[in-house]
């Protein structure tokens, strides 16, 4: 019964959206602007129905209703309650329902938090969002209904949730990532509504900007969390694999980063408007493309989702309709959005646009790398995959260039860009970062025996300090020239925080790559091994069984120069249903260094293949990512509308 109510609720959500889509047309038809006021309550309705349906599916899981096919496939009676709930979005159907729930949430948020937006424009934005909702509701109801029953005979117990997903990471990673992915629908809707209105006003961009920041921040948090999850759960000790599914989330992030910056230019200066609009369309298109790539099973990946050609076709149709029509609209009406010609000289705008170009280029390169296996398969060049070397080759130099321009843009002005002045400001930070890089690397080399000189580390430290030092220089200059007010500006603070986060992220990536020491060994209980000065004693192997799995835990005592560093407990689980094997790494961390042990396979009765890692600075990757996300949220809280809205009236 619950399942049927959930199903009905979905259909009601669809009807609500259909009405919301046509509100602007109805208002023109009846020559009555008060129709437009209906959009916001409808958005709330949609949220209610979507939420209700989501709750229904969760209840089916909680009550072990195995007559519902989706429940039977992804849960069983032994599964702990918390994983029963998170199993709701553990596979295709449920995660699409989550997609729709989140989208409804964003739509309602635009309706009620966007109170400063004119009723007409808001109604248009909501109408575009409704179109997106309709596409996905149809997709869900027609091809991937989570409420389908197995009738007449229901299985007595279910299968199991993919063990990889039975983890805290699953509970938070997908919802956060979806908040970001789906949140990009909001700037997309603003862009399309702007194209319809045929007239650009800075105030419209200022309405849109907080939404870009927030969805970008969620996307950042989701990607960061996913990478952390992969690090401790997959047992490979890596944190990024250039896997198609990872790329699918990175590409919209890169474009959204470009969008966030170019939107600030469009708002402040009224320039590069059509570029900003195009980026808004592209960012959401890439998150749709990501959904398509992941959900159609067109590419193979560690995230291995079930593939179904019928779903693939449907998603492709959604992709064509939404992206195709918006790009068509852009081609048709883009020229109406006349903006001022770009400013001349070495202004902040110039550097931001340079970085925009770099971000879009690197996205293109990742897109090519991700789709290349597909292309070569279609063109009969054989099944190949493009590996990390390709991505690293392009990504590393681009990141360095972006970091350099980033420092320059912080040190330059919006108006009257003067190259000499900017240069003057960056001389000190520039030399300081070179010095800092050299000194640190030399110190590291002298204090430790095992490390060799590393170019990578040198460049990493120089780039990261360049970012931080140019920011410091800017803050000092602001204090000196008595512009203290700007230091209270949340937008400025958010920028500082996010840029600092990026510096930490770069440090984490570069230094953990240069100075990690890894060792793959065969060990049996009682044996010792030494990695980078750390002594690992494999003390014993214990059995410990969970509610729905058997497990072996290795007890490793770690010491450094005879000082005790604690005990690491890596785990290997084998789940009853499906007999999947799962690795959970044992990690001991302080902020500067991770010691990492993961159990491989048992080779004979008592010896195991074991992977030992000492990874310095690897935590900085996630701390940096977290700061970047916080920066985005902070910047979105800025009350920027006061001045502009008076312009509007």
């Amino acid at each position: 019964m619950i399942a049927e109510i959930g199903q009905l609720s979905l259909i009601l959500a669809l009807c609500t959206c259909a009405l919301m889509l046509f509100i602007p047309i109805l208002s023109i038809q009846f020559q009555n602007e008060s129709w437009l006021r209906l959009s916001a309550p409808l958005a709330l309705n949609q949220l209610f129905f979507a939420c209700f349906s989501f709750v229904c599916l969760s209840l089916c899981f909680v009550f072990d209703d195995f007559s519902v096919k989706y429940v039977a496939q992804n849960s069983n009676s032994l599964l702990p309650l918390i994983y029963k709930v998170s199993a709701v979005w553990g596979a295709h159907e449920g995660s699409l329902l989550l997609w729709i729930f989140v989208l409804s949430g964003w739509t309602a948020a635009v309706a009620f938090l966007g109170a400063n937006i004119t009723v007409k424009f808001r109604s248009h934005v909501l109408s575009v969002l409704a179109a997106v909702s309709i596409s996905f509701l149809l997709f869900l109801i027609l091809t991937s209904n989570p409420f389908d029953r197995i009738l007449p005979i229901a299985p007595e117990d279910g299968g199991d949730l993919n063990p990889l997903l039975q983890d805290f990471g699953l509970i938070v990673h997908p919802p956060l990532l979806y908040m970001g992915y789906v949140g990009l629908a909001v700037p997309f809707a603003f862009a399309v509504a702007l194209l319809f209105s045929e007239r650009y006003e800075k105030v419209k961009m200022s309405w849109c900007r907080p939404w870009i920041n927030v969805s970008w921040a969620f996307l950042t948090a989701g990607i960061t969390l996913g990478s952390w999850w992969a690090y401790y759960e997959l047992g490979w000790g890596g944190w990024w694999f250039w896997d198609p599914v990872e790329n699918a989330s990175l590409m919209p992030w890169l474009v959204a980063t470009a969008l966030m910056h170019s939107a600030s230019v469009s708002e402040k200066k009224g320039t590069v408007v059509s570029w900003t609009i195009l980026l808004a369309i592209l960012a959401f298109s890439l998150s749709l493309l990501g959904t398509f790539l992941v959900r159609s099973g067109i590419l193979t990946s560690v995230h291995a989702f079930a593939s179904d050609p019928e779903r693939g076709i449907f998603l492709l149709i959604i992709f064509i309709v939404l992206v195709g029509s918006s790009l068509f609209l852009f081609a048709l009406k883009g020229h109406h959005l006349v903006s001022k010609p770009a400013s001349k000289g070495w202004t902040r705008e110039f550097f931001i646009i340079m970085n925009n170009m770099l971000l879009v280029s690197i996205t293109t390169i990742i897109l090519i790398g991700t789709l290349y296996p597909l292309l070569s398969d279609i063109l009969n060049l054989g099944k190949i995959s493009v590996g990390p070397p390709y991505f690293d080759f392009f990504f590393v130099p681009t990141t360095i260039a972006i970091a350099v321009f980033m420092g320059m843009s912080v040190s330059s002005r919006w108006n009257n860009g003067n190259f000499d002045e900017s240069l003057q400001r960056v001389v000190l930070p520039g030399f300081a970062s070179i010095a800092l890089g050299l000194v640190t690397v030399v110190v590291i080399d002298f204090t430790s025996s095992s490390y060799d000189f590393s170019w990578q580390a040198l460049i990493t430290i120089m780039v990261a300090s360049w970012i931080v030092l140019t920011l410091c220089e800017d803050i000092v200059a602001k204090i000196r020239s008595d512009k203290l007010k700007i230091l209270k500006n949340k937008s400025y603070l958010g920028m500082t925080l996010a840029h600092t986060g990026l510096a930490l992220l770069i440090l984490g990536v570069g230094l953990s790559n240069s100075y990690s020491v890894q060792s793959d060994l065969l060990m049996s209980p009682g044996k010792r091994a030494n990695v980078a000065g750390y002594d690992f004693l494999f003390k014993e192997l214990i059995k410990s069984d969970g509610p729905n799995y058997q497990s072996r835990k290795g007890i490793f005592e770690v010491s450094y120069n005879d000082r005790d560093q604690g005990v690491l407990i890596p785990e290997k689980r084998s789940y009853f249903s499906g007999r999947d094997i799962m690795t959970e790494a044992g990690i001991r961390t302080n902020i500067l260094k991770d010691i990492y042990v993961s159990l491989g396979e048992s080779v004979d009765s008592d010896s195991w293949s074991v992977r030992l890692y000492v990874k310095p600075m690897v935590r900085f990757i996630w701390i940096g990512g977290f700061l970047i996300a916080c920066g985005g949220i902070l910047a979105s809280l800025n009350r920027r509308n006061v001045k502009v809205s008076s312009l509007n009236s």
Binding site: S296, I298, V323, A331, H335, L374, I378, S577, G578
Partner: protein
């Protein structure tokens, strides 16, 4: 001039879409089995029910048959079982390969759910499964009367899969027989 630039993203989009559409027809998980066209690997195992010794020579039947990899721990096998029973009643010979399983549990399972298999090979440590390149249960192989593997399916065989992948090939193999 400016207008031409504005059309550019649309053109790019169309190109990518065409490739994506083409890509849908390809199935990346379709890895052709190296064993197709080759004989069943050699083995010497017991049957599940009466523990008779059985080797690869013993399953050269006079008819093409299906070799179905199954196990009691495999949830999907439960879903597949009804279809196998139905195929068996249509007179199609199915040989089971009971893969990494417990003998008592497996016999109970067949008592409860019906036995579609002519007999099942009991492969408790997965040696034959390894030689066959089994990814996981269920898997189904179509083997002709000379013991040559002609088709392989990873995952459940349901009515749709049977009709689209197996039936025609099965009937033509059976036709050669007569």
């Amino acid at each position: 001039m400016r207008k031409i630039f504005l059309i550019f993203p649309l053109i790019l989009f169309i190109t990518i879409t065409i490739f994506l559409y083409k890509g849908l027809e390809n199935d990346p998980s379709h890895l052709p089995s190296a064993l197709i066209g080759k004989n069943l690997p050699q083995f010497e195992l017991e049957t599940l029910l009466d523990r008779e010794q059985i080797t690869d020579k013993d399953i050269l039947l006079d008819e093409p048959f299906l070799l179905n990899v199954w196990a009691t721990w495999c949830y999907a096998c439960r879903l597949e079982h009804a279809m196998l029973n139905e195929l068996a009643t249509e007179g199609i010979i199915i040989v089971g390969l009971n893969y990494k399983d417990d003998r008592n549990l497996a016999n109970d399972w067949l008592n409860q759910r019906g036995n579609p298999y002519l007999f099942s090979i009991f492969d408790s440590n997965g040696s034959l499964g390894f030689d066959l390149g089994v990814y996981g249960a269920p898997e189904t192989y179509l083997v002709d009367r000379k013991g040559v593997i002609r088709h392989k399916r990873v995952g459940i065989v349901d009515e749709h899969i049977w009709l689209s992948e197996f039936q025609e090939l099965y009937l033509s193999l059976k036709g050669q027989n007569e």
